[in-house]
Amino acid sequence: MAFGKYKEVMALKAKDAKVTGVAQDGGVVTSILCYALEQGVIDGALLAAKSDTPWLPKPVVATTKEEIIAAAGTKYTISPNMSAIKSAAREYALDKIAIVGTPCQIYAARKMQLYPFGARHIADKIALTVGIFCTENFSYAGLKTVIEDHCKVPIESVTKMEIGKGKFSVKGAKDVAIPIKETHKYEQDGCHVCSDLTAEFADISTGSIGTPDGWSTCFTRTTKGSDLMKKALAAGLFEKKEMAEFAAPMGLAMLEKLETGKKDKAKKTVADRTALGLFTTPGIVY
């Protein structure tokens, strides 16, 4: 089944201007986290926030709406959010932690829940997982090279970056878009054996693929995720459209095409590595 198991899929756009002003696309992550915090579903969240180095995210434990909003927006380099989970459970003494992360980070959270070795009194405090669609990711040095060498834009001037429609685009000292193909060699090696695009194990997963600018595609996958989303919709947090409104090649057709592409690529990479006699984690591709 495409997109893993899910309960509902929809197109969403946050109504709160404070959120839409800073968010990457539909502001789903920021809005749902603020709402979950208000409702007491969570008492804090692990997020990728801005650091002093331009576009180098750092994991933070956000415990207020302001901190959540300040962390909005996609960063195209990995932020080891899970590394802050112990801090959240310990010196922040959070009992209901939300984790926002890439599909691989959601795996980490789920594994921690399944066998919490070295995570005593931590895994039981994970209250919500929000996964972000991910096609691939860059190391910081790789991202910097793409922006400064390929796009020829100083990284500190960049205000937004985006991947979509076959292009990697930055807005900054000037607005530049380069073919996404040029960036492939800077991807993290591990991403090449990753078969999860839509964060199949999160409570809620979301991303821009499949919906027009300013909107996000959103899956609810667990009872917890679905209940929370239903309440948020009833509270009027989002404008909602059915995915069927976006006909092929947009909509779910586009998402499925990219997802299949990612899974196929992962399978091929694994086969290539196996042929070379390299070790690959059994069952890593599906």
Partner: protein, 365 residues
């Protein structure tokens, strides 16, 4: 040198916090550094959390000796587990882990806690109080109702205590350390074959065995005595159980004071000099562990441990425990051991042999 607190805290899974604290304190003194005020407060708070769970745990061990009504015993067990959970949670938050806390560092505490975490600690301490009160009343009542001999475990060994709560290195140096000596158990025990069976070392003050722990602390610093002990002798084993009960409210009060006092915005670490230590200065870190005085001593040379020795609480007490078992029917011996320590194997296993080595009795709890 960073490895010393990590390794030595693994002596014990019940009071690793006091080992890490004694270890870091001794190394800090050897280096001549002091942690920032809030680092000290946080470390002390972490230790109070440890005591708030460790004392109830000890009560769980002695419960079957006194609580004969199974329903009452079950209710006490539930209370004890609730208290332990709160104590452990405080250590989790302040120390980073309830067992083998990684935040206890040379130079203070690795990280401060959040204001919300501080509030949670204060709330949990409030929740601890009524449970503790009910449990303490229950325990004191069943102690007095028991048929344990009133003079069980009475001895005249010196009581050793440096502080009511944490441990005071200056006091230890002034009053005890200069009288300290260490001999092999073989030369300590009257029968060499007994000493040969013992492991470790025999630490002495003024050439004699001492007793540390709740009775020693409470006697010296909180006016504990005959008035608190009912029918029992204040120098005996039951006085230890009673002192432990009475110490918990004082620990709770101290924990509340410390948590209130903590400034969560201030630093908690003084980074130790990487190549510090002259190899000469002996740092002493005595800790008032739940069951006795836990003393670590260290010398550091250019950032590396040049000398290290630990005399843990029960190493001091075990010499007195033997003495305290004398003079009563053997069936009471395990009560004496359990009053001191829940972890030595003799608090849960008893064998009695006669002079010809024939087995007379055997018991496990």
């Amino acid at each position: 040198m960073e490895f010393a607190p990590v390794a030595s805290s693994r002596f014990c899974g019940i009071c690793p916090i006091t080992h890490a604290s004694a270890s870091t304190d001794s190394i800090e003194r050897a280096l001549g550094i002091t942690p920032p005020k809030d680092g000290v407060v946080l470390k002390h708070l972490c230790n109070m959390g440890n005591k708030l769970h460790s004392h109830p745990l000890h009560q769980l061990l002695i419960l079957p000796d006194f609580a004969k009504d199974p329903n009452a015993a079950l209710a006490a067990t539930v209370r004890i587990q609730k208290m332990r959970k709160i104590g452990q949670n405080i250590v989790d938050i302040t120390g980073g882990e309830a067992i083998h806390a990684p935040n206890i560092r040379i130079g203070g505490m690795k990280t401060n806690i959040s204001e919300a975490a501080k509030r949670k600690i204060l709330e949990s301490l409030k929740a601890y109080e009524p449970i503790m009160k009910e449990n303490n009343e229950f325990l004191l009542k069943i102690f007095q109702a028991s048929d344990v001999p009133e003079k069980l475990g009475v001895h005249n060994n010196e009581l050793m205590a440096t502080d009511l709560h944490y441990g005071n290195a200056d006091l230890f140096e002034q009053e005890y350390f200069y009288r300290f000596s260490e001999v092999t158990p073989r030369s300590f025990y009257p029968k060499p074959e007994v000493g040969e069976e013992a492991c470790g070392t025999a630490p002495l003050i003024g050439g004699k065995a001492v007793e540390g722990g709740p009775k020693a602390r409470m006697t010296r610093f909180a006016g504990f005595g005959a008035k608190d002990c009912g029918k029992f002798d204040p120098k005996g084993a039951m006085a230890i159980n009673i002192a432990r009960v009475l110490e918990i409210p004082l620990t709770l009060q101290k924990a509340t004071e410390l948590a209130t006092q903590l400034d969560t915005t201030k630093p908690t670490m003084t980074k130790p000099p990487e190549a510090g230590g002259d190899g000469q200065r002996l740092g002493v870190g005595p800790q008032e562990a739940p069951r006795g005085v836990n003393v670590h001593v260290a010398k550091v040379k250019e950032g590396k441990i040049a000398y290290y020795n630990c005399l843990v609480a029960t190493t001091w007490n075990i010499l007195t425990i033997g003495k305290a078992c004398e003079g009563q029917h053997y069936k009471w011996a395990e009560h004496v051991v359990r009053a001191y320590d829940p972890c030595v194997s003799c608090s849960t296993h008893l064998i009695v042999v006669d002079e010809d080595g024939k087995l007379v009795a055997e018991d496990t709890i």
